[in-house]
Amino acid sequence: MATVELLFSPLPEHVRTARLVAAAVARRSGVDEAVLDEVRLAVGEACTRAVGLHMAHGVEGPVRVSLIEDEKKFAIEVADEAPHRRFSVPGASVGTAPLSSSGGTGNGHAEAEGALVPGARGEIPEPTAEEDEGDGEMGLAVISGLVDDVEVSADENGGVIRMSWPTAPESLVP
């Protein structure tokens, strides 16, 4: 089993908890201090995307984060239970329903992801009524920019983002 496993309700307020737990376990596993910020950001992006998918599809089940300590690497798996119709190349969309959040203007999610992918157009489109919704693809772009070893898979029952980082030899871990 995973070294540490975390299940949380698919709500934005719990993503921070997942980041903190992942960073703590990564540090203990010997991931370099300089890389912990990347671990924190990557797991946050993966969890944010999972929460968005659950909310978009009305899935109430938990997001599952598995933190796996290995001899030479530290791996994180973030699994969602949302039905994925197809899986993502940048620019493609996963799922169809727009994300929505529970409070305020109801659009606390990523905007204008098209402009955020490296190599995408530099100009910013004019605001439109639908401008403020994203579908998690920007988060994936960030993850792939951050993490060398990343693998994304999905089917109709859910998706998993697997990421790993090398760990220092045990003798170097305090």
Partner: protein, 113 residues
Amino acid sequence: MDLSLSTRTVGDRTIVEVGGEIDVYTAPKLREQLVELVNDGSYHLVVDMEGVDFLDSTGLGVLVGGLKRVRAHEGSLRLVCNQERILKIFRITGLTKVFPIHPSVDEAVAATD
């Protein structure tokens, strides 16, 4: 840590000082602040991110949304950031080409390009 927001005016610029973590949970507060400023006629914004500990793609999305809003009024949105870990995410996403990023509020306020 939650998100802290405060605003002040310097000349025709409105400085939005942001502190704490900008993520999927807190980003809506920043969005509301930016929307409110633009609705109130503040079209030249400087977002001071020196107190930001964490920023993710949701936060980037909100900043891009703010930029779109001020540009619709011929305005500007400048960022102040010196922190490498925050700058990195702007570089990864190519947003360093979209946002003017300044090392200090003074420089952001003085910038006219």
